[in-house]
Symmetry: C6
Subunit: 71 residues, 6 copies
Amino acid sequence: MSTDLETGLPSIRQIQNLIRDEKEVEMKLLTNDLLTGKIRWQDQNCICMVDHYDQPTVIWRQAIAYMKPKP
Amino acid sequence: MSTDLETGLPSIRQIQNLIRDEKEVEMKLLTNDLLTGKIRWQDQNCICMVDHYDQPTVIWRQAIAYMKPKP
Amino acid sequence: MSTDLETGLPSIRQIQNLIRDEKEVEMKLLTNDLLTGKIRWQDQNCICMVDHYDQPTVIWRQAIAYMKPKP
Amino acid sequence: MSTDLETGLPSIRQIQNLIRDEKEVEMKLLTNDLLTGKIRWQDQNCICMVDHYDQPTVIWRQAIAYMKPKP
Amino acid sequence: MSTDLETGLPSIRQIQNLIRDEKEVEMKLLTNDLLTGKIRWQDQNCICMVDHYDQPTVIWRQAIAYMKPKP
Amino acid sequence: MSTDLETGLPSIRQIQNLIRDEKEVEMKLLTNDLLTGKIRWQDQNCICMVDHYDQPTVIWRQAIAYMKPKP
């Protein structure tokens, strides 16, 4: 595993766009938690979301079921 | 992990066909969620489905239990 | 990950036999779903089962707990 | 992933011994199923158990939580 | 897998900062356990947290859903 | 995957110490089982615990959520 994120992949690029556009998303986790917020950064292991109070949550990729941009 | 999808695999090709034919599918996830829609794209990490309102959901492959084309 | 299935492994060969012999099997998934049918094909990611109405279900290997040939 | 099982590992050797000695074991799966029987074979993906009626169950390694030889 | 942690990744560095600053965090696990404490060390497999009584808990990375620094 | 355990990692060394010191530990699994006992051996796939009656349980690493040495 290298330090570079595969920015050629649509799923990685889409998340980069969501970060840039500061769009709200919903993340459903394998724990059945549903987290809402904006994505701040991503790396190979994790995706970081911030909520309305600007509190960060670092989500492990392995725990993600799906992600839905808020319409 | 390279940027290329293994298009020689039946499971990958079948999804490519479902994208091309805009067929409706059901996706059962490890969270026990059952999502319905059309597949828009796939990459190595994720499969993107759109629902009847054309809202996208990016599903992590790791979270998929099974997929059933609607008869 | 190459496109070739490791046909030397007993678990892979046994599934090949089940496909050839069109035997009924039960698949228990990590979601606790129990699927019944005949195996149509396998690749490195997935196993495809068809039910009594010949409807296919593509099962991700990662979601399989166990498989039992019907006696 | 090669076709050879790492027979140098204690966990692999212990299962080989259980096969040879035809010892009864309990397998607890991530589904919370508890299977009882004798181990017939193992490969890199799966472990095969047979029950009292000699019916085989092929268990995917990924689904195993623990194994207890019956005292 | 080598013995070196990828200290270039934001998720790894953020945990290093949390260790250095002795900040309290919440860890949500795939078991739905919610653990609270300070992170003592991390390696490639695990993250070690200590609670208010200085008792350590070694958490396997594979079991982590998300981590939230306490505000 | 080679036959050698990465003894340079803190998590592996800590388990080696627990084996040598015959300390009691609690293991929480992804099944939500909580096992108590002493660790007898570890390899790359599994960790073996023995209970008060000296009965062994072979735990697959993939199923471990966390481990707590008994205070």
